[in-house]
């Protein structure tokens, strides 16, 4: 596109260092193939989180922070599973169903709250996530209530069944990489650029013809759809879903991943998911200590590295440059 040469590299890792992150990524991605099943399990969860946090990132990059992202993961999971359960639909149709419903709900919710000050968005999305959990608990007849739904069949795509961890990891990795590439591409299109503009200076953007409300609504719908897709896949990997799988603390972890990873970088969701998904393992059951660590890490990152870990390379570069 003609406008491309105008775009500065504010989002890339820098001229020379552009190759290094990809090499690192390839190494990290390949590593599970040479490790035990538990590492593969963590890698799958990480990949799904990359997809979901990318969705959260899209919403955040239009200038709003969703505190109810887990609710949309839940919608994708439950709708797709229930479609298969009640109507016997295959993975493709169920996935579409899950994603579409997530998008529609996001559209309705967003249409109401995006016209108001940003604080309402925070309060309502938070309340919505809690409401979703309560609804899932309450409609026990349909959703299985607190017991959830178990024995979810693995993905059967035109005869190829993803019933082993290795196979699912490949699928999850492809999806994660696809979401990353989607983000790269999307933010080079005029709509993506417009969303960045809206986030950076909404009044200015609005005055040049970029409708803030519409763009934020679109971002919310797309972001929640990605979350829904993540839910669809997660349900068929773990084989079991319950209202507790999608509670508020999940929304909080997703935000933590995005903030710690970096809100201003394409690599943010990736870094956040890769670092924070396996972290519970380090703490080996000392859950409280782990959460205290999360809380402290969040505050420290916000204070000293507000653009997240992904901004570390450019920060260090600036430091060394000013020393010279």
């Amino acid at each position: 596109m003609a406008g491309q040469n105008v775009l500065s590299s504010t989002q890339s890792a820098g001229r020379g260092g552009q190759v290094v992150p990809f090499i690192l990524l390839a190494v990290v991605a390949a590593w599970p193939f040479f490790s035990g099943p538990f590492v593969v399990h963590l890698a799958i969860l990480t990949c799904l989180n990359i997809l979901i946090v990318n969705g959260l990132s899209i919403i955040e990059r239009s200038g709003q922070l969703s505190f109810g992202h887990s609710a949309f993961v839940a919608i994708g999971a439950y709708v797709s599973v229930l479609m298969t359960q009640y109507w016997g639909t295959g993975i493709v149709v169920s996935a579409i169903g899950g994603i579409v419903i997530a998008a529609v709900v996001a559209g309705v919710l967003g249409a109401i709250i995006l016209r108001l000050t940003g604080v309402y968005f925070v309060l309502v999305t938070f309340a919505f996530a809690e409401l979703m959990r309560l609804m899932l608990l309450d409609w026990a007849a349909v959703t299985g209530g607190a017991n959830g739904i178990s024995g979810i069949a693995p993905i059967d795509l035109f005869g190829f069944v993803f019933d082993t961890r290795g196979r699912f990891y490949v699928l999850a990795m492809v999806v994660a990489i696809a979401s990353f590439l989607f983000m790269l591409r999307f933010y080079r299109t005029p709509i993506g650029q417009a969303m960045d503009a809206v986030r950076e200076n909404p009044t200015l953007a609005e005055s040049t013809g970029l409708g803030v409300y519409r763009l934020r609504l679109l971002a919310f719908i797309i972001g929640c759809s990605l979350a829904g897709f993540g839910g669809v896949l997660m349900a068929r990997y773990i084989g079991y879903i319950s209202p507790e799988t999608f509670n508020i603390s999940i929304s909080v972890s997703l935000i933590t991943m995005l903030v710690v990873g970096g809100r201003r970088s394409m690599w943010g969701p990736l870094v956040g998911a890769v670092i924070l998904t396996p972290l519970p393992e380090l703490f080996r059951g000392a859950v409280q200590t782990q959460h205290i660590f999360y809380g402290a890490a969040l505050i420290l990152i916000l204070r000293f590295l507000p653009d997240g870990l992904a901004s570390l390379p450019s920060r260090l570069r600036k430091l060394t440059r000013s020393d010279a």
Partner: protein
């Protein structure tokens, strides 16, 4: 079935719960009004109040009223300190400050879990027995709680209306821009606003402690309720928070007569959304949009 008694009972219960929602919501509105920040740790200060009362009454065997006052003092001091130490860098960076309160909430809840464990603990009741007023039964402990809550509210009203610092605090909440033009010092009012705000949450938790059991998890539901009340009452409106708090308590109480608890919650969420569409400035029309 005497529906009159049922409704009266539900009204009393609703008002009692509403009083506590009111305390939570006013505290939350104070913090938001002064710091322009959604305080996700507000529920954990409620929990702090409850746990503090537990420690003071069960472990230190202090009388309930003393325990409540001490809890308030602890919360106000701790809150101001936390604001000054942790949130000062975020004073003009509300979005990041808000996320930081999530970190604080995580830390507070898990510290409490480490100290007290996850199981519910009970605080001895304030009073025994039941009073009957024309067919309606009210446990005496609840009467005490209502009495204390009303006392706290009266003191709060006096503070906000009559004292200089209270009036300034109110001015900051109700019109942030004008107050800052008049040079209200952020050095004083940020920690004060946060301290008083979370102090009110702690009092709510302290007063509720003998009525329900306490645990590190008790903060989550009041936080959500505070959100709903603030939306219904209008962001930044203290009177709105008061009216909406009572209203929410009543709605919940009546709804639970006919619906299951989670259906009632769904209904309330729906009411909140409808209010946002029809009256975004809140019940009293004094909130910001």
């Amino acid at each position: 079935m005497d529906y009159g008694i049922l409704i009266a009972q539900a009204t009393i219960n609703g008002l009692i719960v509403g009083l506590l929602y009111l305390l939570m919501a006013i505290g939350f509105t104070l913090v938001f009004g002064v710091m322009r920040m959604v305080n996700f740790a507000h529920g954990e200060f409620y929990m702090l109040g409850a746990m503090a009362v537990y420690v003071f009454t069960v472990h230190m065997e202090l009388p309930f009223l003393v325990a409540v006052c001490l809890s308030f003092v602890v919360a106000i001091v701790f809150g101001s300190l936390v604001e000054w130490v942790v949130f000062k860098p975020f004073r003009h960076d509300e979005l990041n400050g808000m996320i930081a309160t999530i970190g604080l909430a995580m830390i507070l809840q898990n510290l409490a879990l480490i100290i007290f464990g996850p199981d519910p603990l009970s605080v001895p009741p304030v009073a025994q027995g039941v009073t009957q007023i024309s067919g309606v039964y009210i446990p005496n402990s609840r009467i005490f709680v209502v009495f204390f809550a009303v006392l706290v509210l009266a003191l709060l009203y006096f503070y906000l209306k009559k004292t200089r610092s209270g009036r300034a605090l109110r001015a900051v909440v109700e019109d942030f821009k004008i107050a800052s033009i008049q040079g209200i010092s952020s050095k004083v009012y940020y920690p004060l606003g946060f301290g008083v705000g979370v102090g009110l949450a702690a009092i709510a938790g302290a007063l509720m402690a003998p009525l329900f059991s306490v645990s590190p998890f008790v903060g989550a539901a009041p936080l959500l309720k505070a959100f709903m009340v603030v939306i219904l009452g209008g962001l930044g409106s203290i009177p709105g928070a008061a009216v909406a708090g009572l209203a929410l308590g009543l709605i919940e109480s009546y709804a639970s007569l006919f619906l299951s608890a989670s259906t009632a919650d769904m209904l309330i969420f729906l009411v909140v959304m409808i209010m946002l569409v029809l009256m975004p400035r809140g019940i009293l029309g004094k909130g910001e949009v």
